[in-house]
């Protein structure tokens, strides 16, 4: 079904009148071949089309106008409003009624559809909100439970706990705190996106350095290997380094978190035709092809994925990249694993003339 066109009401009246005149004009020359009764059906169809697109008043005007035109120009005797045959009089009356009913019904259907759409949107919002609450209460309460539980255990069983167990509990508290902090950061970033407060502040950035900074943060010989071959010819780029760092941070963390065993992640940065191209590629299981279109959705998590994620990371990636006027895409590598590709427009500075003496 068509959605009502966003045309001004005056324009809708004008189009209604012109269309009826046009259709009547064409029909007028065809009456000899078709007979005048077919013209009524053609005009009825015209009114129906208008009803699909326009508001009620222009459509009613079209219905009235077409009825009068049909009567005046087509029903014998022509060029009078007089109708000779009872049959024609009845048809004229029916024509008028059908045109009216047609107009009113079509518009009612349209309204019902729009109500259904609103309801659906509202339900989607509620569903998302519930997912948020579920995921939040889990993602925030798990570390809180760990902290409180560990602290209680340490407080009440001081003498019974071995040094090793005490140290382990302290490490658990530490990990839980870091996790909690990360989730809060995600939520803050999400709300910055949602409220539209996110305004990129571009400044000159050395992207090789930025990528190395992210790598240093996650590098850990026990859990992952991060590979990056810096392009020494890469110019400085004018880009919001803070936002980009959060994006890469989320992508790298995502790659490591869902990687079975020791994670191997490759990063690359290139600059081509005023665009900064970044890839983050892993050698994990990749994404099921049918899920790829949905991975950037808010709160989306792969079916059966392990706990420990909020489903916010990749939607923040998408939101931030779009705030940088860029695009992010995901594909599976032929040799396995997933590859995220970012393309972000950025000004470059080669500073060839800078005096260094």
């Amino acid at each position: 079904m068509f959605s009502p066109l966003q045309l001004s009401i005056r324009f809708q009246y004008l189009v209604s009148i012109l269309l009826i005149f046009l259709v009547s004009g064409v029909s007028y020359y065809l009456t000899d071949y078709t007979g005048y009764r077919v013209v009524a059906l053609v005009l009825l169809m015209t009114v129906s089309v208008l009803a699909m697109l326009f508001r009620i008043l222009p459509v009613l005007l079209a219905a009235l106008l077409s009825a009068l035109i049909w009567n005046y120009f087509f029903i014998p005797p022509r060029f009078t409003f007089h109708i000779d045959h009872t049959e024609d009089a009845l048809m004229f009356l029916l024509y008028f009624l059908i045109a009216l009913i047609n107009a009113v019904l079509t518009i009612k259907i349209r309204q019902a559809e729009s109500r259904a759409r609103d309801k659906e949107e509202k339900e989607t919002t509620i569903r998302l909100y519930n997912t948020l609450l579920n995921s939040l209460s889990h993602e925030l309460r798990t570390p809180i439970a760990t902290i409180l539980g560990s602290v209680d255990t340490l407080k009440e069983n001081r003498d019974k706990l071995s040094e090793k167990n005490q140290a382990e509990l302290l490490t658990e508290i530490d990990t839980a705190g870091i996790r909690l902090n990360r989730q809060v950061e995600n939520l803050l970033n999400m709300s910055r996106l949602e409220t539209g407060l996110l305004k990129p502040k571009p400044e000159w950035c050395d992207l090789n350095e930025l990528v190395h900074r992210v790598i240093r943060k996650y590098e850990n010989p026990e859990t992952c290997t991060l590979r990056f071959e810096p392009d020494e010819m890469l110019p400085l780029l004018k880009i919001d380094g803070g936002l980009l760092e959060t994006v890469l941070d989320n992508l790298v963390q995502n790659a490591i978190q869902y990687h079975p065993g020791h994670a191997l992640v490759d990063l690359s940065v290139r600059y081509e035709s005023n665009t900064c191209l970044i890839t983050v590629s892993d050698h994990g299981a990749g994404f099921p092809e049918e899920e790829i279109p949905r991975v950037f959705d808010k709160f989306y998590r792969l079916p059966d994925s392990k706990t420990g994620g909020s489903g916010l990371g990749l939607s923040i990636v998408k939101g931030f990249v779009e705030a940088l006027s860029g695009k992010v895409s995901l594909e599976n590598n032929k040799e396995g694993g997933a590859k995220f590709s970012l393309s972000i427009p950025a000004e470059a500075s080669y500073l060839k003339n800078l005096k260094n003496e």
């Binding site: 950061e185 803050l188 000159w204 190395h212 900074r213 803070g242 500073l351 800078l354 003496e357």
Partner: protein
């Protein structure tokens, strides 16, 4: 030796408690103020060796307290800030804060910052030769050696390095560095800074991609250690 004294100006009781225990167990004497007003009175009556100042205080902003303190107090002031507030940090540093640390912070990092700030505030013997790990910088002769091998620096590179070395351990904002090296009017030309920090790193760092000396403080500036 007398214990060094630290004044904490912080409204959050939990953070105050944590800092008190952490600092006292590391042999500092701790004074506490719950508001900016109280902090200023305490500092005036009994000037501490270092002040830990929270940027977000309820009565007056940490920035105002900082400005007021800096009219007479010349020992280190460390700002406590929350993340994602780089503008606040830059502004505090440009108004005389010695250093900053963001909440949530790790204890070891905070202690290192405090020690570094206190050490720098003690005027050491005036010397033109400074050694920093594998680097030896002679400010008078304008020469630099790395692992006893001479390093050739351009004049601008040397000026930049000298500025960093004189402020070892301290964050220097982009704005400050540009003004000091290139002069007023260049404060926004951050690409100059990036280029020269890059070329300096190639000459003084073992691995320019993983710098040990010239550390980037995202969106704020650089720190030489």
């Amino acid at each position: 030796m007398n214990k060094e004294e630290i004044l904490i100006i912080e409204d959050e009781a939990q953070i105050r408690k944590l800092l008190e225990i952490l600092l006292e167990s590391n042999d500092y004497k701790v004074w506490q103020a719950l508001s900016g007003k109280e902090g200023i009175v305490l500092a005036a009556n009994h000037p501490p060796d270092l002040i830990l100042l929270d940027i977000g205080l309820p009565d007056r902003s940490g920035h105002e307290i900082l400005k007021e303190l800096r009219t007479w107090y010349n020992r280190p002031i460390l700002m406590l800030s929350v993340q994602d507030k780089e503008e606040d940090i830059v502004s505090a540093l440009d108004h005389g804060a010695t250093d900053y640390i963001t909440k949530p912070f790790r204890a070891a990092e905070l202690l290192a910052r405090i020690r570094s700030a206190l050490r720098r505030s003690q005027p050491g013997p005036a010397t033109a030769c400074i050694t920093c790990d594998d680097l030896q910088i002679d400010l008078a002769a304008r020469t630099v050696k790395k692992n006893n091998e001479p390093v050739r620096l351009t004049s601008t590179e040397f000026n930049l390095l000298a500025l960093f070395v004189k402020n070892e351990g301290r964050v220097l904002t982009h704005h400050y560095l540009l003004k000091e090296i290139w002069g007023p009017g260049f404060q926004t030309e951050t690409q100059y800074l990036r280029v020269f920090v890059g070329s300096l790193r190639k000459k003084i760092e073992d691995n320019p991609n993983q710098p040990r000396h010239l550390i980037t403080e995202s969106r704020v500036g650089y720190r030489f250690i």
